[in-house]
Symmetry: C2
C-alpha cells in the first residue's frame, strides 16, 4: 500500500545541482527561507565557494541546514593503473573535504571503463573502496554506493542494480560502506521491494534520492522530472524504504535543462509542491 | 573465453529496419546479392509491399533468403480494457500475417502503460499471451519475448531482463513461447551468462539479435552502433548463446539516424565487415 503524502518539510533535502544556476550561498539561503531542513552539496558547488570548503559548510549550518551528503565520489574504473591510483587519491581528498564540510556521507558513483568488461570494472571498484575505507572510517564519513541506471553502464557505473550495490557493500564488510537509493535509477527493477527490504536488514540503506522518470525523456542525462511528473510511484518506493527502517532525508536530485532554464524561485515552489503532494 | 570471429555469412540475417531507406524488394535483392542468407521483416515493410504479405514472403524466398522472424508484436499493456482487447486482436492478425509471410517466429515487445505499475502491465502481458498462444500454435508460429532495456520500461516494455522473460515464458508453459535475446538490451546484466544458459536449458532461446551499445549514445532510440563500435563484447555473448545450444541466425538490428542517412550500399558493406570481424 502506498504511503500517504508527506505534507511537512522536516525531512526534505535539496541537492545543489537541482538548482544549479544558484551558487551555494544563494541556494542555502533560499532553501532555508522556504523551510527546507537539509542540503546535499555537489563538489563543484563547494569548490566554487570563494571562502573555501570549511566556510561553505559553516554557511549552510548558519542557515539551519543539515548537510546530508557530499556528491559525488567514486569513478574508480580505468584501463590505466595510474588513473586508478589517481582516482583513489582524489577520493581520499574528497573524504577530507566531506569532513571539513561537516557531512557524514559521500555518494559514490562507482565508474565504468569502455574497453574493458563490467566484471573488470567491478573488481577495480572494489579495489577502490579497499583503498579508501580506512580513511573514511578515520574521518567518520560513510560512503553510499549509488546503483546507476543500466543506461549508464557504458562509462559511469558498472553497479546498476540494488542487488549489486548491496552485495558489494556487504562483501566488503565495512559498516562505513552502504547504499544510496535513487528512485530514478532502480524504479524498473522487479525485485526492488525485496532488495530495499534486504538493504534495510543489512543496515546498508544510507540515503534516499527522489525525482521522477518522465515518459520517454528527451535526454539521457538532463531531462529528469519532478515527483509526480513521470512513471515512478515515489510514495510507494518511499514507503518501502521506510518499511526497511529508513528515517533519513528525502533528497531531491533533478538534472533538467528545462528546469535549470526557468526562474529558480518559481522552480523551488514547484519542487516543494511536488514534494508535499506527490512524494 | 570469447568465441572466435565468424568469417562466413551462412548465419547472418538482417532486419529490414536496419536498412530502413530500402523498400522490402530492394532489401531482399541487396542482401541476397551480398551473400546474406536470412532476412527479418518489419511489419511496416511487409505491409508496404504493393503485392501483399504473401507475395512479400515469396519474393524473399525467390532471392534464396530464409525469413527468420516477423517484427514486432505485443504491446499488450493498457489502462483501457478495450485497447487491451484490440492489442490481442491485432496480434492474432499478425500471427496470420507471419504464417502468410512464411516465417515461424514473431518477436514480441510486450508493452508498458504509463499510469499503472509495471506489475499491472506484466499481468496484462501474460493475459495477452494467453489470448493468442492457441492461435500461434495452430499456425505453427512461435513467439519470442524480447526483454527491452530498462530505459524503455516507461512505455515500451515492462519485461526488462532475461530472467523476467524466461520466467514469463516458462510460467505460461507453452512451447510456442520463448525468448528473443538482443545484446543491446541486456548486455549490462551481471547475471546474463547464467540467464542465457538457463534460457537454453529451458529450450526457450528462440532468436538472437546483435548490434552494439555506443559509449554515451546521442539518442535513446536511434543511435545504436555496428558490432565492435561500442562497449558490448558481442563475440562473448554469442559464445554464451552457442554454449546454451543456440544454432540459429545472428540477426543484425540497428536503429541509427546516422547509418540510415548514409548510402545504404556502403552501409551494407560496413555491416558485413563488422559481422565478419567483430561479432
Amino acid at each position: 500500500m502506498p504511503a500517504s503524502p508527506i505534507h511537512d518539510l522536516s525531512r526534505l533535502c535539496l541537492h545543489t545541482v537541482t538548482t544549479k544556476p544558484w551558487p551555494l550561498a544563494t541556494a542555502a539561503r533560499k532553501y532555508a527561507a522556504a523551510g527546507i531542513k537539509g542540503i546535499t552539496i555537489w563538489r563543484d558547488a563547494a569548490q566554487a565557494h570563494p571562502d573555501g570548503i570549511k566556510a561553505a559548510g559553516q554557511l549552510c549550518r548558519d542557515e539551519g541546514l543539515e548537510i546530508v551528503s557530499y556528491v559525488r565520489g567514486g569513478f574508480f574504473a580505468s584501463l590505466d593503473a595510474t588513473k586508478r591510483q589517481e582516482a583513489i587519491d582524489d577520493n581520499l581528498r574528497m573524504i577530507d573535504e566531506a569532513a571539513a564540510l561537516g557531512t557524514k556521507l559521500i555518494v559514490m558513483v562507482c565508474g565504468a571503463a569502455p574497453g574493458q568488461s563490467l566484471f573488470a570494472s567491478r573488481a577495480q571498484i572494489a579495489d577502490g573502496f579497499r583503498g579508501i575505507l580506512h580513511h573514511a572510517r578515520a574521518c567518520g564519513v560513510k560512503l553510499g554506493i549509488e546503483p546507476l541506471h543500466p543506461m549508464y553502464a557504458d562509462s559511469r557505473s558498472a553497479v546498476n542494480t540494488m542487488r549489486q550495490a548491496i552485495d558489494m557493500s556487504v562483501g566488503l564488510a565495512d559498516d562505513h560502506l552502504g547504499v544510496t537509493v535513487d528512485v530514478f535509477h532502480i524504479w524498473w527493477d522487479d525485485h526492488l521491494k525485496a532488495d530495499i527490504a534486504r538493504c534495510g536488514r543489512e543496515k546498508k540503506l544510507f540515503s534516499f534520492h527522489i525525482c521522477d522518470w518522465k515518459n520517454q525523456p528527451s535526454d539521457m542525462l538532463n531531462d529528469r522530472g519532478l515527483m509526480g511528473e513521470g512513471v515512478i510511484n515515489v510514495p510507494e518506493l518511499r514507503g518501502w524504504a521506510e518499511d526497511a527502517g529508513f528515517q533519513g532525508f528525502h533528497e531531491v536530485e533533478i538534472f533538467s535543462n528545462r528546469y535549470w532554464a526557468m526562474d529558480q524561485d518559481e522552480y523551488l515552489k514547484l519542487i516543494i509542491e511536488a514534494y508535499r503532494t506527490k512524494s
